[in-house]
């Protein structure tokens, strides 16, 4: 549905330091243009670090709901809590996970990608479905974002917290490489990227080639390294292939070289750890397994540079994994240099319970660095980080068919500062899973 709007709509925004909206600390107006879908990306100045703020917009006589945000702290920080969400196929269920995230006491949310899906209606009897066929044009992508962002739980999650963002493939097209050059794809990519920018709370110097990769510091406690594993990647399984692209790889290697003594969290859309099939080959070479030389180079640099306390948070797989990260996954004598937590999806369908039961142990046997696999549930992760310990709480929902499905904690894994490797909390080691390394 097209709204009858003029080319330019003036939107005013106001930021307050209190929930009651009595103390105004910043305000301004932005000319929202039809050339960016009347979206608004405001730069707010004068805010203090480590504070909570509230904001709202007004346009055309209407006022938005109130959003809450938080500025990053500087200096000593004793704790940070944040959540990740990933893979939220609209037709696969309701967003009880986002309803849960909205009520979590977290400083921020990270989306790991697959915020939308590009395909058409799935048919059958889903709890809800896409609005039309596969999306290709800018108008298509805008309509798809409008569908997803109409979900009240997703809106609540956005309103409750500030977000950091990366993307995976389905914001554009399944398993794509951003450097593919055929004209139909180049046109589609531009439409997909522009619509993503229009709809996401992100600062970038371009709507058409947004630079997602960046580092953000949460005081002295945590360095967040956001990776873009789609825009610059080559095709898979090439001897000289790249998942990062030349510029991002150099930037990442430089980040590693100059890393400080803190927790390092990589925001990583798609599995970093090796996931080998028994007998040879890999489950999916769309993930880092299709870019093995570059993975070895990056992880080798982590090992040789002495960077410690690396935790990688990942989406894409629609199932939960915990992996030890080694610079050479085929060498069991290689040191553990970090931990990867791959989170459950918000809704996107996982394998069947039967597949998981059979293949959890199969994957475990073929991958000695794999410590845990659980694929029968949906939800999100909450991370609680102190100077001494990283804890990953796997939150799961009861049912994707119920928008108000209750949230529970399936299990918790910890990583102690200065000690590579994770361990499961003794209180939840008996929780259901299809594989545990014992």
């Amino acid at each position: 549905m097209t709204q009858p709007l003029p080319d330019v709509v003036e939107v005013s925004w106001t930021v307050y330091s209190d929930r009651a909206l009595r103390r105004r600390v910043a305000h301004g107006t932005v000319a929202a243009s039809n050339l960016l879908g009347h979206s608004v990306h405001a730069v707010v100045r004068g805010l203090l670090p480590g504070r909570q703020y509230y904001f709202r917009f007004s346009a055309l006589g209407r006022t938005s709901r109130v959003g809450r945000t938080r500025t990053a702290p500087v200096g000593p920080v004793s704790r940070v809590r944040f959540a990740t969400a990933n893979c939220q196929a609209f037709h696969d269920g309701f967003y009880a996970a986002h309803r849960g995230i909205a009520t979590e006491d977290v400083d921020f949310v990270v989306h790991l990608g697959d915020y939308i899906y590009e395909h058409g209606q799935v048919g059958g009897h889903p709890v809800r479905d896409h609005e039309g066929p596969a999306i290709l044009s800018l108008a298509d992508y805008r309509r798809r974002y409008a569908l997803y962002k109409g979900d009240p739980s997703l809106r609540a999650s956005h309103a409750a917290h500030p977000w950091f963002l990366t993307w995976d493939d389905h914001e554009c097209a399944n398993d794509y490489s951003g450097t593919e050059g055929a004209a139909p794809f180049v046109a589609r990519r531009a439409a997909a990227y522009q619509a993503w920018y229009e709809n996401m709370p992100v600062r970038a110097g371009s709507a058409l080639e947004p630079q997602l990769y960046r580092q953000r510091r949460w005081g002295d406690l945590l360095d967040l390294t956001v990776l873009d594993l789609r825009q610059y990647r080559s095709a898979q399984n090439l001897a000289d292939g790249t998942i990062l692209g030349t510029s991002q790889k150099k930037w990442l290697l430089d980040q590693i070289s100059s890393s400080r003594d803190t927790w390092h969290c990589w925001i990583n859309s798609i599995m970093l750890s090796q996931l080998a099939r028994p007998g040879g080959g890999y489950y999916f070479t769309d993930q880092w397994d299709g870019f093995r030389a570059e993975r070895a180079e990056v992880l080798g640099h982590v090992a040789s540079s002495g960077m410690e306390d690396l935790v990688v948070v990942t989406g894409d797989w629609h199932s939960a994994f915990v992996d030890d990260i080694r610079p050479d996954f085929d060498n069991r004598d290689a040191p553990v240099i970090g931990t990867e937590f791959t989170a459950h999806s918000v809704t996107s369908g996982a394998y069947s319970a039967e597949w998981n039961t059979v293949n959890g142990p199969v994957m475990g046997a073929a991958n000695p660095h794999l410590k845990y696999f659980e694929g029968n549930r949906y939800g999100y992760d909450v991370y609680e980080v102190t100077p001494q310990r990283w804890s990953t709480h796997m939150r799961v929902i009861g049912s994707r068919g119920d928008a108000a499905s209750p949230v529970s904690t399936l299990t918790t894994f910890h990583v102690d500062r200065g000690k590579p490797g994770s361990y499961e909390d003794p209180g939840s080691v008996a929780s259901p899973a299809q594989y545990r390394r014992v």
Partner: protein, 169 residues
């Protein structure tokens, strides 16, 4: 009406353009070798040269222009093309940025698919008009030429690239 782009017609080679990626080139219409020629679809005032992708899979040219104050409306146009039934192509984008470097508007022309060219070698005009987003300080004009699949020649072509504004000073 004010033309903001320098050397949009490739007659001065790549003068005025920053090579961001690859090996963009100015190619003569009389070169032959299957490239667009005087008799192929293209602008009537095509001059002697057009932009091509050279020998890299992705070649990008860019220029950042200052927007006149009080610019009211804009017209972006370009002749974009490719080779026969191949899906190599050229895409022209304009992003209007404000004083903080935040995008305030985006315009995308092309690339033309092989079917949109009727599988003909040549260049075809694409145009967009609109209202300049208030607060626009710069316009970043990017010509991306891409090669589909393997091979050597990047047969994304472009010529007569124009960004004009009215009402500015």
């Amino acid at each position: 009406m004010t033309e903001l782009i320098v050397n949009g017609d490739a007659e001065q080679g790549l003068t005025g353009w920053l090579t961001v990626a690859g090996t963009p080139a100015a190619i003569r219409y009389d070169r032959g070798d299957g490239y667009p020629g005087a008799g192929d679809p293209g602008p009537a005032n095509r001059g002697t040269q057009f932009f091509g992708g050279g020998t890299s899979p992705r070649s990008t040219l860019r220029q950042s222009v200052t927007m006149p104050r009080r610019a009211a409306s804009f017209t972006v146009s370009a002749w974009l093309g490719g080779y026969a039934g191949q899906q190599d192509g050229a895409q022209l984008t304009v992003e209007f940025l404000d004083c903080d470097g935040i995008p305030r508007g985006a315009v995308v022309l092309g690339p033309l698919t092989a079917s949109e060219r009727g599988s003909a070698t040549g260049l075809f005009e694409r145009t967009a008009r609109g209202t300049v987003p208030p607060g626009s300080r710069r316009a970043v004009v990017t010509l991306l030429m891409t090669r589909a699949g393997s091979g050597t020649s990047n047969d994304g072509y472009a010529d007569n690239i124009s960004l004009t504004v009215t009402g500015g000073r």
